[in-house]
């Protein structure tokens, strides 16, 4: 049997040839040192399933969920880092974290964690460090992420039992940064209507609804079988790089077939699962300004119900993308432009970061409003909010901006600020996140980002 997902990505070795002229694109391209092969071994799952063998148990009943909540262009560390550390009343929120006050008792804020990769690509190195923990690689004349992003690593671990292995969404016009590996993006859905139709449209069955099996589902699976045979046959005729692409395509077809098979089963009986209202309204830009906060709220509602209905257990939500030049309310230029060109203490950049944390407060408020067991959905998951840089003006990748909301079923300390005084490797946090959802990962990352073991200081 074939592995369900490609386990590693190898950049193709290419000949180095002499340069044609000093400045041509081709010449520079050829002169680049080729990235060394990066194999990303994905860890096996820890044996922590419930009796049914289907899901990591949280309070014996509910699966743990993971949400990557990403924004672009970083923060202002001086306004971000809380001045006191510890638990409960021992620490206080900083100015930029103040919008999260209502949920302080469900936050775990690690600061002082550094991305250890060489900072050679503005926005790119930090993105690689915080989401993949492997160096970027050269692909053609571009440099691309060298491995899967953390949401996909975790989906590999816990995404196999749901209708959707993972979902990707955005609150602005961006494809997002969820990747299976080099040149294989999972594009984010930006349209709330399309996202609603995908998650709660015709095929969605509420718990208790009449789930009569549609004969068309079986026919669609037969068609997919034929498609898979075509892909297999084609695979024997193509080169190494195309084989990786076809493997990814095949993975997508297999996932779709599995999804159709699950639609023939009764939906899980989950107390808080209801079909949400269809979004209404216009989510387009107004006078050139994206309605980021409104779009984030609408998408967060749908993400939350997708979790509550166990449609998926892994999400990646991109409020904005790296280098985003979105025009926020009451600002005189795009976000990225301001991070570089606003003078002084950068009051507009500060105001944008505060607005982004207001958005995050909206998201965790929505997750925390859904009861599950003795607590809420937020208690049974972890939302990992982060960005690709800290101080955007100089593309700093030290002291990365990170907030964890939700304890992941009691794994993370709550109402806690941990400050690393030694500039610990941020990859250790990515290891902690995997362990929090039940994976047995101990060693993770490659090159200078490689690390072993999680951040025990964050564990409850």
């Amino acid at each position: 049997m074939k592995p369900r997902f490609p386990l590693s990505w190898f950049p193709a070795a290419r000949d180095w040839r002499p340069a044609r002229s000093a400045l041509s694109r081709r010449a520079v391209l050829r002169g680049f040192a080729r990235g060394s092969a990066v194999a990303v071994a994905l860890p096996p799952l820890q044996a922590m399933f419930n009796a049914g063998g289907t899901a990591y148990a949280c309070d014996g009943v509910l699966p743990v969920r993971f949400l990557l909540w990403f924004w672009g262009n970083g923060n202002l560390p001086d306004q971000w880092i809380p001045t006191t550390t510890g638990d409960g009343d021992a620490w206080a929120l900083s100015h930029q974290l103040a919008p999260l006050a209502a949920y302080k008792h469900k936050l775990c804020v690690p600061t002082g964690l550094d991305c250890k990769l060489d900072n050679t690509s503005p926005h790119g190195s930090g993105l690689a460090g915080i989401l993949t923990a492997v160096p970027r690689i050269e692909s053609g004349s571009d440099s691309v992420l060298g491995g899967p992003t953390i949401d996909q690593v975790i989906a590999q671990g816990i995404g196999g039992d749901t209708i959707y292995r993972s979902i990707q969404t955005a609150a602005s016009n961006t494809s997002g940064e969820s990747w299976n590996g080099p040149n294989s993006r999972n594009p984010a859905e930006t349209d709330p209507y399309a996202f609603y139709a995908r998650m709660f449209g015709d095929t969605f069955v509420e718990p208790g609804e009449d789930g009569e099996v549609d004969p068309r589902l079986g026919l669609r699976r037969s068609v997919l079988d034929a498609v898979m045979d075509d892909i297999d046959a084609l695979n024997a005729r193509v080169g190494a790089e195309d084989r990786l692409r076809l493997e990814q395509h095949l993975t997508g077809v297999r996932e779709l077939e599995l999804r159709l098979a699950r639609l023939e089963e009764d939906p899980p009986d989950l107390e808080s699962c209801t079909r949400p209202d269809e979004p209404t309204g216009d989510f387009g830009d107004i006078d050139g300004r994206a309605q980021v906060r409104l779009r984030n709220q609408v998408m967060s509602e749908l993400i939350a119900m997708s979790f509550a209905c166990d449609q998926t257990r892994v999400g990646a939500h991109f409020v904005t993308n790296p280098v985003s030049d979105v025009l926020f309310p009451d600002t005189t230029s795009g976000h990225h432009d301001l991070t570089h060109n606003e003078g002084g203490d950068q009051p507009q950049v500060d105001a944008i970061t505060v607005q982004l944390m207001e958005c995050f407060a909206d998201t965790i408020g929505i997750l925390d409003a859904i009861p599950e067991g003795d607590g809420t959905l937020l208690d049974n998951m972890v939302a990992f909010a982060t960005s690709e840089v800290s101080l955007g003006q100089v593309h700093s990748i030290e002291d990365m901006p990170i907030v964890l909301a939700g304890s992941a079923c009691g794994y993370f300390k709550q109402d806690h600020h941990y400050r690393s005084l030694s500039g610990e490797n941020v990859t250790k946090l990515l290891i902690s996140l995997q362990q929090a959802v039940g994976m047995s990962t101990v060693d993770f990352g490659g090159g200078a980002a490689a690390a072993s073991g999680g951040l025990s200081d964050l564990e409850a």
Binding site: R25, V28, T120, S121, N186, P187, V227, G252, H340, G343
Partner: protein
């Protein structure tokens, strides 16, 4: 890399390329002096995923423009600046598979439900589960959707799906939809499978069906039409003499105008005009229509330049002819040629605005939301028009431009620091001097004489070619020695989907020499590439 022996057809191609068996003067090869085509290492075959616009155009061409498609299919990705290279590089995502499945059933249902389309493709009334009818319908559809005949085994698979579904659902037509959807979800539809490994392919070359696909997507950005498929079936596309005639017929077809629009839209990033972000309190001429209008202007100017005037490529950067609607006329401060829609105008001879780089599609897109961007404009000229690579800035540098103060009121004064600091200067001296020459145009493309009360100095130099005023910059770019080689390189990448590192220098030089000798005529270059070695031959699969 191992040497590659010249494929047999190449020798024949040289005879055709010399034009010596064509007596008509206008078909004589003006580039005869460049000599024979080099023996090169052509790029290896790569699967190319259909782009979103190609998918839509195929469905419209094969079926009807009335067939409705979902608003979003798999998103296209630019690699090395081009979607065509991205289409040969990136993978189809799981969400993409899902979207393609939805689109396939949407299309299949509309085809079967449309009396006109059904009559065109389905040779029976569907009152019985007629297996022969299903076979015939899917055979005909398969040829057009897979761009080659289906093998017997392939046809059996899709027919069986249709018949089985018809039995399950109790309807021939309902069942046929599953056969059609299977064709549309197959990798043979979703990818351009041009691997050159078929039994009828020439050594190191592509077979007739693959050539039909390559030609059609390169020149028309859509699937082969019935005539081209007939040519393939008759073996005309692997016969060098016949191929030249086919290419000439295709170039004369109006669809080449669509293809050239796709090419320049990709190259100049015109798709991004749909998401133009501008602060309307800063730019009072900003409107929702501006981005799409700017795209129409640029594509129309290019279209008329190439197809109506057959004018040289560099003249696109100096022409005073353009094509505007009221939105653009207001921005450019010229009289609108028509009360509604677009019309041609000639820009004032004493104005600074001329050529493609005087258009909003460049000036507004390559700028910030509330200001100009000298660096972005400079990078565009360097990377897109001259194929110069600009290294990424050092990540830990503070790239802030000083704010306006009494000593530095214009952008030229403010960014002087970039050019004084050696860390910044290494790249910014490549981009900024050329970007500064557009400072007479604000971040939307409105002409201005001053910035913060100071007269703007638009003088500059490009690789030693100095100029005093904004209106001269187009001429300087037009005569830059990298302009023609860069277009050749871009077109070769667009045509083959290959990374530039897989294109041989000798091949680029050979095509460029011909292009220059042919007075920089783009139609000539398209023909030359379509008949050239990299388009027709390939290295082994690797």
């Amino acid at each position: 890399m191992p040497p590659v022996r010249p494929p047999p057809w190449l020798l024949l191609a040289l005879v055709v390329g010399s034009g010596c068996d064509d007596p008509s003067a206008e078909n004589a090869d003006p580039a005869e002096s460049r000599g024979e085509a080099p023996v090169t290492t052509s790029p290896s075959p790569r699967l190319k995923r259909l782009t979103d616009p190609q998918y839509r155009r195929i469905i419209s061409d094969v079926f009807s423009e009335d067939v409705q498609l979902p608003a979003n299919l798999e998103a296209d990705e630019r690699v090395e600046g081009l979607f065509q290279v991205g289409a040969a590089t990136t993978a189809i995502s799981s969400y993409g598979v899902e979207k393609y499945e939805g689109a396939a059933y949407d299309i299949a249902e509309q085809v079967v439900d449309s009396p006109v389309l059904r009559a065109e493709w389905v040779p029976c009334d569907g009152s019985t589960l007629d297996e022969v009818c299903a076979t015939d319908a899917l055979d005909a559809l398969g040829l057009h959707l897979w761009r080659r005949p289906l093998s017997d085994a392939e046809l059996t698979v899709v027919t069986d799906l249709a018949v089985h579904a018809g039995e399950t659902l109790g309807s021939f037509d309902a069942g046929l939809q599953y056969g059609i959807a299977a064709l549309l979800m197959s990798p043979h539809f979703l990818y351009r499978v041009e691997l050159g490994d078929g039994p009828d392919a020439p050594a190191d070359g592509y077979d007739d069906w693959e050539m039909a696909s390559r030609l059609s997507f390169f020149l028309w950005d859509t699937t082969p039409d019935a005539t081209l498929l007939d040519d393939a079936a008759a073996g005309r596309l692997t016969d060098p003499d016949a191929l030249a005639d086919v290419v000439d017929r295709m170039l004369a077809d109006p669809r080449t105008r669509d293809g050239v629009a796709s090419l320049f839209s990709e190259m100049l990033h015109l798709d991004e005009l749909d998401h133009l972000t501008k602060d309307p309190t800063v730019f009072t001429y900003m409107s929702d229509e501006l981005g799409p209008s700017a795209r129409t202007e640029t594509l129309t100017v290019i279209d008329r330049h190439i197809f109506d005037d057959d004018a040289p490529y560099p003249a696109l950067f100096t022409t005073r002819d353009t094509y505007v609607d009221r939105t653009l006329a207001a921005l450019y401060d010229v009289p609108a040629p028509k009360p509604e829609g677009f019309g041609p105008i000639e820009l004032p001879i004493d104005g600074a605005r001329r050529g493609l780089l005087g258009q909003a599609s460049f000036l507004a897109l390559q700028a910030h939301a509330a200001s100009t961007s000298v660096t972005r404009r400079g990078i565009f000229v360097r990377e897109v028009l001259l194929c110069t690579v600009i290294p990424e800035p050092p990540a830990n540098a503070n790239t802030a431009i000083p704010e306006v103060d009494a000593d530095a009121r214009t952008m030229r004064e403010r960014i002087a620091v970039h050019l004084e600091d050696p860390t910044c200067a290494s790249c910014h001296q490549i981009t900024d001097p050329i970007g500064l020459s557009f400072e007479n145009f604000d971040g939307l493309g409105r002409y201005r004489l001053t910035e913060n009360g100071v007269t703007i100095d638009a003088s500059g130099e490009l690789d030693g070619d100095a100029f005093d005023d904004a209106w001269e910059v187009g001429a300087v770019i037009a005569r830059h020695h990298q302009l023609a080689p860069c277009l050749t390189e871009t077109l070769l990448q667009y045509a083959t989907g290959a990374s530039t590192e897989h294109l041989d220098d000798s091949l680029l030089d050979w095509h460029t020499d011909g292009f220059v000798a042919a007075d920089h005529r783009i139609l000539w270059l398209l023909r030359d590439i379509a008949l050239g070695p990299a388009f027709r031959g390939h290295s082994p699969v690797e």
